[in-house]
């Protein structure tokens, strides 16, 4: 069972459907006991970092996720959910994240040429870094995935498992042991995305 953490942000219809498509059982839940019992955790997220981080803190779900991840339980953050895994973000001020991935979240505008549009929206290619991560074992280097974001993971070199090129090399996915994050939306990336979710489903507790 995969627990999709419901902390009051975003629409989880597509995420739930895409896991159903790959044959995985999910439960959308804010309940700490259910999250503790689940064998994997998915951290979704759309919207602003500050609001989401605040909600995770207030509900105690942030601490719970950190605790479970430290036990070796596979955790995947998607889009803002990936960004929340970082130490901090500079989106409208300065906010603390969960600190499971070393690095910080900064505006794309800082690093890309002025003539490129923000957000970075659409299909772009993944460039693997080093050996393919276990969540990429069913896809190929160069496969396309769907992005929608205006901020990116910076100073996280040791955790980067894939980048994408948008006027600069932007962090596309990260991994720190059993903790994974995708800046793009696997649930909107066709078969490639479903195969990434399959890779995640196949992971075992460390």
């Amino acid at each position: 069972m995969i627990a999709i953490v419901d902390y009051g942000v975003g629409n989880l219809f597509s995420l739930k459907s895409s896991f159903a498509q790959v044959g995985a059982d999910t439960i959308v839940t804010p309940d700490p006991d259910v999250i503790k019992k689940a064998d994997k955790i998915l951290l979704p997220g759309v919207g602003a970092f500050g609001d989401a981080a605040e909600k995770l803190k207030k509900t105690g779900l942030g601490d719970l996720i950190i605790e479970e991840a430290k036990k070796g339980k596979p955790l995947l953050g998607i889009c803002l959910g990936m960004q929340l895994l970082f130490e901090k973000s500079y989106e409208y001020g300065e906010h603390e994240g969960l600190g499971l991935i070393k690095g910080e979240i900064k505006p794309i505008a800082d690093v890309i040429p002025k003539d490129l549009k923000i957000p970075h929206i659409g299909w772009n290619a993944l460039n693997f870094k080093g050996d393919a991560s276990p969540i990429f074992k069913k896809i190929n280097n160069g496969d396309f995935v769907y992005f929608v974001h205006s901020y990116y993971g910076a100073n996280c070199e040791e955790s980067v498992i894939a980048t994408t090129e948008y006027g600069a090399e932007l962090t596309a996915a990260v991994q720190n042991k059993n903790v994974f994050g995708c800046q793009f939306h696997p649930e909107k990336s066709g078969n490639v995305g479903l195969n990434i979710l399959r890779g995640f489903c196949d992971l075992e507790v460390l």
Partner: protein, 252 residues
Amino acid sequence: MITKRIIPCLDVKDARVVKGVNFAGLSDVSSPVELAKYYCENGADELVFYDITASSDGRKLFTDILKEVASTIFIPLTVGGGINTVEDFDRVLKSGADKVSVNSGAIRNPNLIYEAAKLYGNQCVVISADVKRVDGEFRVFAKGGREDTGIEAISWIKRCVDLGAGEVVLNSIDTDGVKGGFDLEMLEAVCNVVDVPVIASGGAGKIEDFVTLFKTLPKVDAGLAASIFHFGEVSITDLKNTLLKENIPVRI
């Protein structure tokens, strides 16, 4: 490098795709689910569904079919048609839409864009404009292109983006259905004033029209069409292979 998007558009009435389609191998050519699957497997980067029903029964059917489509295909879905309130946004987003396109609803109440963008984010709100040349200016038309609103189109679209629209679908009534190519002049005028993605619609008749579009106007992000895809006049696979050969980045 970000790729140019190719987007088929489906008009849905009473849970059926209207205007018919002409594909071999599809058991039910007017089933939105079958067609969505077909396009998804054949290279579409995104799908647009327009609800053209007027009745509330039709609307309910549309929402049900949208849920079915959204749990079957896993590429971005944009939904338009009959979006007049924030509740309409909520209804289609909860049924699996990723983006919602507004047209007449925004003309009646431009603040709808601001309200929806605040609630769901700019990336969720698409302004769709039907535009036609009248008396030497670009004019916005409402009600599916039937009614001249008297509003100047370029400033209208800019205003919508300032209010929070994260994407523009520009449909040229002048070139729509003519199959003589996209309305490059009108598209350029829009690209010059907005910095969000612009989707070209209206006028595509053949593969070369897409090549010309992306070569002439590199700022255009996507090309949208309906009947030429539905009737198999242009296959998305052939189209994308040609674009690649012309060094226009696409997802294969």
